[in-house]
């Protein structure tokens, strides 16, 4: 698995996700937003967390139009893997790689805390190391994580099994602990072919027991074994 981690001005979790990928055995190359091409041999593109372009206008909106994103869209169109975490999820939605949009949290506050998630399925490249319905504990840190889409899109996402993770409490109750007002407690969604994943939580920050847990490791172990 060869991952290209893209850095935009204002990205700040590129080091964290690179570390998680390397720990899992993937090869990582860093790419810059103004590049026109992805590194040769890229299997997975990672759009990391942060505040690309200062979140100006709408989160992810300006980054989604950066030069490198044309190459990322072409990569996704060929069936390549793309993982957008937090701000990267916002960028992926603005870039048209995933449907919908992340709006201001319903409670208006930036929420930074530990958060339980329910893993909806484990037959994708991102979740094979988990079990379906498994409850994992990772962290969240965002002000705009309120997932919104129209009713037709929501029905399609649900019907096609494209919800990757839902917010829940530690017992797995998805009607509790929704941190931002997301529709159907959605924390992450897949593209139609399940090769593009966008999620608001940060699995890359839960890979060491020293800092609160290792439940995030499964995603990177899954990816490292996928190609």
């Amino acid at each position: 698995m060869h991952a290209a981690v893209i850095t935009f001005p204002g990205t700040n979790r590129e080091g964290d996700v690179a570390r998680a990928l390397i720990q899992a055995g993937a090869k990582v190359t860093h790419a810059w937003h103004a590049d026109y091409d992805l590194p040769a041999g890229t299997d997975l593109v990672v759009l990391p967390g942060g505040f690309a372009y200062g979140d100006y206008m709408r989160t992810g909106a300006i980054a989604a139009r950066a030069h490198i994103m044309d190459a990322v869209r072409a990569h996704a169109a060929k069936g390549g893997y793309v993982l957008g975490i937090c701000n990267g999820f916002q960028v992926a939605c603005e870039a048209g790689l995933l449907p919908g949009i992340l709006m201001r949290n319903a409670g208006l506050k930036f929420v930074c805390r530990m958060q339980h998630l329910r893993v909806e399925r484990n037959d994708t490249a991102y979740t094979s190391a988990y079990t379906p319905g498994q409850i994992i504990k990772v962290c969240i840190a965002h002000g705009e994580g309120n997932y919104i889409c129209d009713a037709e899109t929501l029905a399609r996402l649900e019907g096609e099994g494209r919800v990757a993770f839902r917010y829940c409490d530690e017992a797995g109750d998805i009607t509790k602990r929704n941190p931002n007002g997301s529709l159907n407690a959605i924390a992450g969604i897949y593209s139609e072919n399940h090769r593009v994943l966008g999620l608001m939580p940060h699995p890359e920050n839960l890979i060491e027991s020293l800092v609160g847990g290792t439940d995030g490791k499964g995603m990177f172990a899954s990816l490292a074994g996928a190609a």
Binding site: M57, R65, E94, I101, A106, L108, C149
Partner: protein
């Protein structure tokens, strides 16, 4: 020429910021305020003097960047 683009949230899209502003205004005891929705205004200087070209240009700008049409509407005004 000068132009103004106004971007507003579509009906039915939750606007927590507008709600908070509405609550603040009501808390001042201002009578007669029913509801508030927050939007954005872009004042744009354009080099073309052709009004219909300017409108087409601004529409493209809205579709490409200024508005996210999943949740937002936009209005273009060429002010001359």
């Amino acid at each position: 020429m000068k132009a103004r683009v106004t971007v507003t949230l579509k009906n039915g899209v939750l606007d927590p910021q507008g709600k908070a502003i509405e609550g603040a205004l009501k808390s001042f005891g201002l009578e007669g305020i029913d509801s508030v929705r927050q939007g954005k205004v872009f004042d744009i200087e354009i080099t073309t003097a052709d009004k219909s070209r300017a409108e087409a240009l601004l529409k493209e700008a809205c579709e490409k960047l200024l508005a996210n049409t999943v949740v937002e509407n936009y209005r273009v005004e060429v002010l001359g």
